[in-house]
Symmetry: C2
């Protein structure tokens, strides 16, 4: 009897997984066409691309709300104890996807895809010209449709929580508010002490006006990414306004960056960041591809991978000891008196500045909190679109003590809002917290991580991440995964220890 029951579940599961794979195939095509749109598509392809992305979004939606899929999922749920954990994971995660989709009408999904596809181009133009008024009408539409989405998902009284939950399951304003308040309480005094220490010391800087040719930057960055373990036979590096990573298909993970001929660090740390994401994608379990079980579990965990490589590996004296020869080979005119210690100082220079993706580890989280604050105002207090630059700039001046000179350096800097990705930013800070916690646990297993970095063979670091994070796919929740990897529930403690110790030492602060 048990055996027949099992056989029925299996044949139902096979039917289920074929439907799931079709949905995930369409999703992979969406990612691919979106990657192409952002990197290499000719400008006049914009409108037909928007059309196809919108159609694909509609096709995915149609399949998610298919009553037959719902029936099969219900049937599998009733036999969940006959399924192995991988299967059970796919069933429960598809249930969440079905629920979200069922609440949203197809027209809304298609319209959102169309809008975000079109608006990315308008946003890029507005940013290029540093003119918020170019972007404002489109942003108005995007906010308005996002509010509709909120109501569909959460009812008439839906709050910003609905958007937060979409990007990191279970996280709400009531989780982020105290977390951010606590962080801010420790970061602000640290920042003040650092600024005071900086005032008394000579600043080390990249020689002003020195040019770092872009082909040399590209070579150096590719060398670093390869050393991290990013497989260029299974990936690419291209150029976009806003760097990103797209884990398109098995064997094909694409990362992007942008170049500044006067600043090689901007590109380097963007590449390390995106390659960190890329390594996660390249390490996901192949056999579960095209199903939720094979996906990265959350944005927060994804960000922990990128931030760990960018900051904990890349912004260290050990990193620069290993990479110095290559760096000098690409940039032979770089002054000889700037060595690993000085490069590390430059890479960790703390200073309030305008661009989030170029911010140091302390102010970075303040950038996130600022966006979180503005999004809360948009969705909780109906902040009008035209007031966004003003609110941004006045909050920025209050928190960072500097005046935003133009919107390119302010509220136009990030791509997210053009994609209707509200609720996304806070996951960046979660990533920082997870990364610090992972690093502590890793050093218990592997020994002194700084020493490993300085020795130049980083494969044990990647292997640890492969085993504890990448290979796990989405079999656990983010909190379970972090606890399983580190032995502790997620908390900001490790990050605070890490940041106070690193910067206390770097700036010889007496209290840290």
């Amino acid at each position: 009897m048990k055996k027949d029951y099992f056989a029925i579940a299996m044949s139902t599961y096979e039917e289920f997984i074929e439907m799931v794979k079709d949905i995930y195939r369409l999703g992979a095509i969406q990612s691919h066409l979106s990657w192409d749109q952002q990197t290499i598509m000719p400008a006049k392809g914009a409108s037909s691309r928007a059309e196809i992305l919108s159609w694909l979004a509609g096709e995915v939606h149609k399949r998610l709300v298919d009553p037959e899929l719902n029936r099969i999922v219900s049937e599998l749920e009733s036999k969940i104890d006959t399924l192995d954990p991988d299967m059970a994971c796919n069933v429960s995660r598809m249930r969440r996807e079905i629920e979200q989709a069922t609440l949203l009408p197809a027209e809304l999904i298609e319209e959102m895809a169309r809008l975000s596809s079109e608006s990315r181009i308008i946003w890029a133009q507005a940013r290029e010209e540093s003119d918020f008024s170019i972007f404002a009408p489109m942003l108005e539409k995007i906010i308005s449709i996002t509010k509709q989405k909120m109501r569909y998902l959460g009812g008439e009284d839906a709050s910003y929580d609905v958007l937060l939950d979409e990007y990191e399951i279970g996280m709400k304003m009531s989780d982020y508010d105290p977390l951010f308040a606590g962080l801010k309480k420790r970061l602000i005094p640290l920042l003040e002490k650092i600024m005071a220490a900086r005032a008394n010391e000579q600043q080390i800087q990249i020689p002003e006006g020195m040019e770092f040719p872009i082909p040399s930057q590209e070579k150096f960055c590719k060398e670093v990414a390869s050393r991290m373990g990013f497989d260029f036979e299974a990936g690419r590096l291209d150029i976009t306004t806003h760097p990103f990573c797209s884990g398109l298909w098995d064997g094909d993970t694409r990362i992007t960056t942008r170049y500044d001929a006067l600043d090689p660090f901007s590109c380097l740390y963007a590449v390390m960041h995106e390659a960190g994401h890329g390594l996660y994608e390249q390490g996901l379990p192949s056999k579960h591809k095209l199903s939720p079980r094979g996906l990265a579990i959350s944005l927060g965990v994804h960000e922990s991978q990128s931030r760990l490589w960018e900051n904990q590996i890349g912004r260290t004296t050990g990193f620069w000891k290993v990479m110095l020869d290559s760096f000098r080979k690409q940039f032979p005119e770089f002054p000889e008196n700037i060595g690993p210690n000085e490069l590390n100082r430059i890479a960790n220079s703390v200073e309030p500045s305008f661009i989030r993706v170029e911010a140091d580890e302390i102010t970075y989280n303040m950038h996130v909190m600022l966006r979180y604050e503005i999004e809360k105002q948009i969705f909780e207090e109906d902040l009008p679109v035209e007031k966004i630059p003003q609110v941004w700039n006045s909050l920025f001046e209050e928190w960072f003590g500097i005046e935003v000179p133009e919107d390119r350096l302010g509220c136009l800097q990030d791509v997210h809002w053009s994609m209707a990705a509200f609720g996304y930013f806070p996951t960046y800070t979660l990533g920082n917290l997870y990364a610090a916690q992972l690093l502590e646990a890793m050093s218990v297993d592997l020994g002194d991580i700084d020493q490993i970095i300085a020795e130049g063979d980083w494969s044990s670091i990647l292997q640890w991440l492969r085993t504890n994070i990448h290979h796990q796919g989405s079999v656990m929740t983010p909190a379970q995964l972090i606890e399983s990897a580190t032995g502790k529930a997620p908390s900001p403690d490790a990050f605070i220890r890490y940041i106070e110790s690193k910067y206390g030492e770097l700036y010889s602060l007496s209290d840290y």
Copy 2:
């Protein structure tokens, strides 16, 4: 009554066209992913790419054989007199697609897509290493599945005709055999006379060993393509082993080429050829995109566009008069004593050589006939795969008088067989015939084409092609289209006049 009947047809037509558009959207995605596969995809993406292309082929097939589509098409066929010609065109062309798909099982289509996706990589490797044995097992599979396809489409006694008809509606062996025999009869004596004349004259050549840097070639080629009217804001130029044009989406037409640092002509004429295809795609009627009505009508007509720009415009003294300054700007070391007349001689140098895509206008068609002959032997006489190199080489020696030194220069040179595109090559010769006929008609309307070319403003040429060919989409059959554009049914006469006059003059042949 009439009005209601019309209204019913209209609502049925709308339902029909939505189904058609879905099929064409999937087709555009296939083209896009195939373009990506051939240009920029990382090597390890091959297997997941093959999987998705096969899946897409299956999805297209599933929709084509959907009984509901068949029912709707039948209903529209019964009311065909209430539809306008555009609608009627879509209905009749979808009937042909449905019929072809219905005859083929989905598994076969998916398997063919999978095989051709995989084999393209193996073919490229075999060609790179000039080793037929690497490609042979895959080619065996491709021929075997193509034979299955032939039987599904044409029954147990299916002939090579079935494959020929797929690529150019209505063309059979009984059409091509006399056409090719007639052409051969005129081309062989012309070739012999040219070879005799060449023996007595000093050859003009590109200085041996001179390097033409690839970035300069790219700039020059892009300038030529832009002058032709190719819109780079609605297109791209990339690098592939085998140049091709992909008319992906409205506003996004991508062409490719390959570079040889010792020979700028190879790339130039490949780009003019592909840009000729690209202009056709960019000129197709936008409002009929995503339906058969908006497609290029046939491969033969497509090829007429590429060959016209490549040969009738590009291989003329007038072309070189216009482009010489730009050419010298990119290649300042190019000898001053080689001017437009000499460049034209180089570009039209007739000589039996190995590579079809680099062949002169006379031997080109002999290259096509050779492939036609071998394909006939494969499908009519079961020529074993391992004998292909031998048959190729011995036919080649017989017809061209030279010995093929390696398979890279022989039966491994073309991508077509790796894609199971048997029956495709003869359309290249049709293209040459159509191009000559179009040129004659164009000169009746516009005056001396050579003079227009030499004056450097080629927009009237493009406009003539836009009006008479591109904007027509597929509203007429190829034969109707050529007749409507030229006032005469398609025939080889204009091509023979063109080729005998051009080369008679170029080589001062007394009888021409």
